[in-house]
């Protein structure tokens, strides 16, 4: 049991981050705080993927004659990292669009509180 808890520590951290992100998205009324929750949610998934590629005692995936490539245990798995580079770029683009929409919303309603905006729309 103790091994199970300790051995999966990166997953536990991912789960905690995921829950914090979802909490921010669902319960926070301020739209900027919602966006922050969204970013935390994305970060948790990115960290999960990055943790997939890591190995104990392995080195960075650049070919080194001292470590033969025939033994995969010598090198980290670079694929999740490169994929997450793309996912981070996607996340940044989403963040940019979100803030642009927030600026437009603020110009129209002069507030960023969800309840007040919904009241004004009604």
């Amino acid at each position: 049991m103790y091994d199970f808890l300790l051995g999966h520590y990166s997953y536990w951290l991912t789960i905690i981050l995921l829950c914090i992100g979802l909490y921010g998205i669902i319960f926070k009324k301020n739209l900027v705080k919602k966006t922050i929750g969204l970013t935390i949610l994305q970060a948790s998934v990115v960290l999960y993927w990055v943790s997939l590629g890591s190995k104990w005692g392995a080195t960075v995936p650049v070919l080194d004659p001292a470590y033969p490539a025939s033994d995969v245990a010598n090198y980290l798995n670079p694929l999740p990292h490169t994929l997450m580079l793309t996912a981070i770029v996607v996340g940044v683009a989403t963040l940019g669009v979100a803030f642009a929409l927030l600026i437009a919303t603020y110009n129209r309603y002069k507030t960023l509180d969800e309840d007040e905006i919904l009241e004004q729309i009604q």
Partner: protein
């Protein structure tokens, strides 16, 4: 950008820094395919050098460096460089973005062809990223025209 005041120290400092940042950005773009760096990072550095002048000098001074008008076509040209490379490899009988089919002169071996093909792509990405980041800054400085 609504109210401006002149500060010679800030402007002079930015003018001193800007070319070096730009040079470093170009260095990062050109070394991106075999060392850390690349089009995104280099483009962001180029954009930061342009935006530095915009922040410190205001609209009139920055117009001397990169005009607001030029950012949109520049971004499109960056993407076209990327896209055109892919189309050229299609025209020379291979798949999209297959650098080995690119018609570089000199009879290079496939590894070298890939080396130069990625360089072309990185230059295209660098131009596009720079232009788009500057464009975002210009739009935010101008504000929204909703009434």
């Amino acid at each position: 950008m609504r109210t401006q005041f002149e500060s010679p120290i800030v402007l002079l400092g930015s003018r001193l820094l800007s070319p070096y940042i730009m040079l470093f950005g170009i260095y990062v773009i050109f070394h991106g395919h075999y060392s850390p760096g690349g089009g995104f990072q280099g483009g962001a550095l180029l954009a930061s050098s342009v935006i530095l002048i915009r922040l410190s000098g205001g609209r009139i001074v920055s117009r001397l460096q990169v005009r607001e008008f030029f950012t949109t076509p520049l971004a499109a040209i960056g993407v076209i460089v990327y896209f055109g490379t892919g189309i050229v490899s299609i025209l020379f009988g291979s798949y999209f973005l297959d650098y080995e089919a690119l018609p570089f002169p000199g009879g290079l071996d496939p590894a070298a062809l890939r080396y130069y093909g990625i360089l072309v792509i990185e230059i295209g990405i660098g131009i596009a990223v720079m232009a788009i980041l500057v464009m975002i800054y210009d739009h935010m400085a101008r504000g929204e025209d909703y009434v």
